[in-house]
């Protein structure tokens, strides 16, 4: 049974993540009065990219070649270590909040290096902006997770998601921490108002600029990894701050209910993201630190309110 659940944990994120991207795109298209592509289009895109030939710059080194694999592997490892549909999964080895945060940084580190590797001006500036945002977002991220950790008295993510039930006296803290977390979520997953996930050509692009030189299967892996990262942040937000419906034990029924409720929560997150992206413009780059600083302050207040 454990092996079975472990396998579900490992493959759940990569299997479901393209769907999230598809749903967000579909909702955005409907809001713009377009029909939009099918919600399964991202799967087809990935399949297509995986079978294409590649063009690689002659300036690229092994960093460029290995980065997609590392970035993708990081999202799998992290995705398998966080609570997805159940809180019973007591992962004491890699389930700590700090190793999750810093493991995600491994992906960012290699992606930013890969952006600089080919010597294109786009890639370099994309990396610079990405590192800028990540450096400032890290404080907010650690603090929002820390608020949840202190409420439940452990920094293990599965244990946090299991114990936030019935902590109604900390409602305000959790709410503030979630607001802070959500701001960081938008920054880390390269969504509006930080970055425009749809275009390669805007001057302020961040994530798309770093992967501009990639093609074929490596591009597929990077696109997939960024979808995984989106779902990982959804899962953290949904399961740490709204932990209802999580399977409390390893019975098949509980797990199926857990997965169903998790899918509903993901859908709500997709809806919110799509609404934000449809209703709001991208911010100027130098306004973004203010937003991240707000996230940090919200989290500090949330921490101060505990007890």
């Amino acid at each position: 049974m454990t092996i079975f659940i472990w396998t579900i944990q490992c493959i759940f994120i990569p299997v479901v993540s393209p769907l999230c991207v598809g749903i967000i795109k579909k909702i955005k298209a409907r809001l713009q009065n377009r029909e939009g592509a099918s919600i399964f289009q991202p799967y087809k895109d990935l399949w297509k990219l995986l079978h294409k030939d590649e063009v690689i710059s002659r300036d690229a080194s092994w960093i460029f070649h290995s980065a997609p694999f590392i970035v993708f592997a990081v999202t799998i490892v992290v995705g398998a270590s966080i609570p997805l549909f159940g809180s019973f999964f007591n992962n004491t080895l890699t389930g700590d909040m700090l190793i999750i945060v810093y493991a995600l940084s491994i992906g960012t580190f290699f992606l930013a290096l890969a952006g600089m590797d080919t010597g294109s001006a786009f890639g370099g500036f994309g990396s610079s902006r990405e590192m800028n945002l990540v450096a400032l977002a890290e404080g907010g991220l650690i603090f929002s997770l820390l608020t949840a950790a202190l409420i439940s008295g452990t920094t293990n993510l599965s244990a946090i998601s299991g114990s936030l039930f019935g902590q109604s006296q900390h409602f305000l803290s959790a709410l503030l921490a979630f607001s802070g977390f959500f701001i960081v979520l938008l920054a880390e997953t390269a969504r509006f108002p930080y970055d425009n996930p749809d275009t390669h050509l805007e001057l302020t692009m961040i994530h798309e600029a770093m992967i501009l030189e990639y093609s074929g299967k490596k591009l597929a892996l990077l696109e997939w990894a960024s979808a995984n990262k989106l779902l990982i942040f959804f899962a953290l937000g949904a399961n740490l701050f709204f932990p209802f419906g999580l399977a409390q034990n390893a019975y098949a029924g509980a797990i199926i209910i857990g997965i169903a409720i998790f899918m509903v929560k993901i859908f709500i997150f997709c809806l919110v993201i799509a609404l934000i992206e449809s209703g709001m413009a991208k911010l100027r780059f130098f306004r973004l630190p203010d937003l991240l600083f707000i996230s940090f302050v919200l989290n500090v207040v949330a921490l101060g309110l505990i007890r």
Partner: protein, 683 residues
């Protein structure tokens, strides 16, 4: 067997190996090659002996204390006390010195015919000897002798490349700051002597109750300033980014990796052991210094484009992180929470060890690059990964370790530091709690900014296309240099994987302190899989993470390469250039990379731009001939702290000068007046 290894004789063999290495290399200084081999051979032998000695001492928990002969001076006794803390620091210096010496065999060659290699070997060995003496001395004056040997030897190492005027200036700044520090240390020791009547640390410790509270506070402040100068805490750090780049790289590695930690060593020894019990505000002060040093250190590092200065600023940052651990240990111990204090102390000690490893690795890597490029300016590098692949790989590991990326060692000590700060937030009240929240914030931001800084450093040194022709002549370093770096990189990985075993030993070292004795249970659970804090508050396993991560990468590569796509082709093309020829000038520079962060923090960093335009016709000013733009960061300490201090000292000296009339009668009357005053006081 154990008795023999941990005996005083064995310790003297250790000292004499370095002594023979030093004196011998000075004697054969005429022949560059044999001086190089001689000095480094004895340094390697001494380091190996030191490793054996310290590991045996720690594992068998045998502390050795002995006095050598009678001393001609009543206050100075050549007394040694090698306890577990000393042994731990001997372990660090031996470990780092071992690989630096191996590296030096290849590295020093580029100084042949330019300078005396024998002199370098002499100062190098004496530098290590001085550190060993100060780590083991148990008498204040004897300690100062070791401290001075270390300082003077490292001063001569800093000005070794003396044809460069900048290095001589850096050396002078270093010397001045060192002596300011030493003055404060002497003041602290003299105050201790006045009230306890002894320079002996053990006696001082047992008579500590004799010291009035106010004096104790002054002693704390003097010791903090004195040892803080050596540790490089902000704002006493200004010598560090000047002196570390100037020294030969293997000595920079030792200075950054080990020498600045001697300040930390003495802070631990005095504040956690000798001067106990302590008031809470001492810990608060140390914690605040840690917050400021870690944040500002990494911010200044981001503005640098000189590779060694960048690393030097990161040393300040990491000293800050160590002080976060030490400061919380002091706070917890003063609030009588020994379990938490021990946890924080273990975090601080672990980070001391880890920082020594990855920082010396990075300095050695920087040395290899500079050796090929003949400049420290990162803007002139680029694309070196193709010319120096192994060096690039080791530097990458160092960068990951210092950015606290798992599974390397930097992550695990920062994890422990985080956990001890979390415990503070969870347990303490009101204002103290906010201080710990601030500390966590500083540590979190430091992590993110360090990551950005090392993407910048690695990217602009090793990636993209060469920005100068010098790069295309670069060759991979000789094998001894590669071995030194490779071994440190491996250690950086191993200390991450086996962090729980290491922390177990560190905990034993901590428990040897008087304040941690008779403690029922410790917070760090004994767990072979990984680190674990207090009944599952937090746990992490480097080994599991590594295996899992490596497994996933292999599976992904296997699926992508062989299952999904077998027939795909890879075409080699040019980077997308928008239709114009790409030149290296279009790549992002290290200044450009950090400029947005510098702008965001412009309130602290105060960036400055200077335009200078030279015109063809200075009358009409229409046709510019040359434009120069100088980007810089104004040094806040220089303008607001050192400059006013300098003006004040100058002013005082000017006023004092007035009594120097040059008239001998006046001088005789001064003597007479002084005599009268002295008589008046004594009678």
């Amino acid at each position: 067997m154990l008795e023999i290894i941990t005996s005083p004789i064995s310790f003297f063999i250790l000292l004499s190996l370095f002594f023979v290495g030093a004196v011998g290399s000075l004697l054969i200084r005429k022949d560059d090659d044999s001086a190089n081999i001689w000095s480094n051979f004895f340094a390697i032998a001494g380091s190996l002996w030191g490793l054996l000695f310290s590991v045996t001492t720690i594992i068998s928990e045998r502390t050795v204390a002995f006095v050598v002969g009678g001393s001609p001076f009543p206050l100075l006794s050549l007394s040694f006390n090698i306890d577990l803390l000393s042994a731990f620091f001997i372990f660090i210096i031996s470990l780092i010195a071992l690989f630096c010496s191996i590296y030096a065999i290849g590295y020093v060659r580029h100084y042949y015919k330019k300078y005396h290699i024998g002199a370098l070997g002499f100062f190098y060995n004496f530098f290590i000897l001085g550190i060993l003496l100060l780590l083991t001395a148990s008498n204040g004056i004897f300690f100062l002798i070791g401290w001075e040997i270390m300082s003077v030897a490292s001063f001569f190492a800093v000005i070794y490349d003396r044809k460069n005027q900048e290095n001589v200036q850096a050396g002078f700044l270093y010397l001045v700051m060192t002596y300011i520090g030493t003055a404060f240390i002497v003041a602290a020791f003299l105050l201790l002597y006045k009230f306890t009547g002894s320079f002996d640390f053990e006696t001082i410790k047992s008579d500590i109750a004799l010291i009035p509270v106010g004096v104790k506070n002054i002693i704390f402040l003097s010791a903090l300033i004195g040892f803080g100068v050596k540790a490089g805490i902000i704002p006493l750090h200004i010598w560090l980014p000047a002196a570390h780049p100037a020294a030969p790289s293997h000595i920079s590695a030792l200075m950054s990796g080990v020498m600045i930690k001697t300040g930390i060593f003495m802070m631990i020894r005095l504040f956690l052991d000798v001067l106990q019990p302590i008031p809470t505000w001492w810990g608060i002060t140390v914690l605040i210094i840690g917050i400021v040093s870690s944040l500002l250190g990494v911010l200044y590092a981001l503005t640098e484009h000189d590779i060694k200065r960048l690393l030097a600023y990161h040393s300040i940052e990491n000293i800050g992180i160590i002080l976060l651990g030490l400061g919380s240990a002091l706070i917890f111990s003063s609030l009588s929470m020994p379990e938490l204090a021990l946890l924080s102390l273990v975090a601080a000690l672990f980070h001391t060890l880890n920082h020594a490893i990855f920082k010396s690795l990075l300095f050695l890597g920087a040395g290899s690059v500079i050796n090929q490029m003949h400049t420290r300016n990162m803007e002139e590098y680029g694309g070196l990964i193709k010319y120096m692949p192994q060096t690039a790989f080791f530097f990458l590991i160092g960068s990951m370790a210092i950015s606290a990326l798992p599974p390397f060692n930097g992550f695990f000590s920062e994890w422990l530091t985080f956990q001890s700060l979390f415990q503070g937030i969870a347990i303490l009240d009101s204002s103290m709690r906010w201080l710990f929240i601030l500390a966590v914030g500083a540590l979190a931001f430091t992590g993110g900014l360090a990551l950005a800084c090392f993407v910048k450093a690695f990217g602009s040194i090793f990636l993209a296309r060469p920005r100068s022709t010098e790069v295309t002549h670069a060759k991979e370093s000789p094998s001894s240099m590669l071995f030194g770096m490779g071994a440190l990189a491996t250690l950086s990985f191993l200390f991450g994987i086996f962090s729980s075993q290491v922390t177990f030993l560190l905990e034993k070292i901590g428990q040897s302190f008087t304040i941690f004795q008779n403690m029922p249970a410790t917070l760090l659970a004994e767990n072979n899989q990984g680190l674990m804090v207090k009944n599952g508050f937090a746990s992490v396993s480097g080994l599991a993470f590594t295996i899992f991560f490596a497994g996933v990468i292999m599976v992904v590569i296997f699926i992508i390469r062989s299952v999904v796509n077998k027939r795909q082709k890879i075409k080699i093309g040019a980077t997308w250039d928008c239709g114009v020829d790409l030149t290296p000038r279009m790549e992002i520079t290290s200044t450009g990379f950090a400029s947005s962060i510098v702008l965001i923090f412009k309130g602290i960093l105060k960036p400055s731009i200077q335009h200078e335009i030279e015109y063809h016709d200075s009358e009409s000013r229409y046709l510019p001939k040359e434009r120069t733009v100088v980007l810089g960061v104004s040094d806040v300490y220089q303008t607001y702290f050192y400059q006013p201090l300098h003006t004040l000292v100058n002013l005082l000296s000017l006023h004092t000068k007035k009594i120097q009339s040059g008239n001998i009668n006046a001088y005789i009357s001064y003597i007479f007046i002084t005599l009268l005053i002295v008589l008046f006081i004594t009678l």
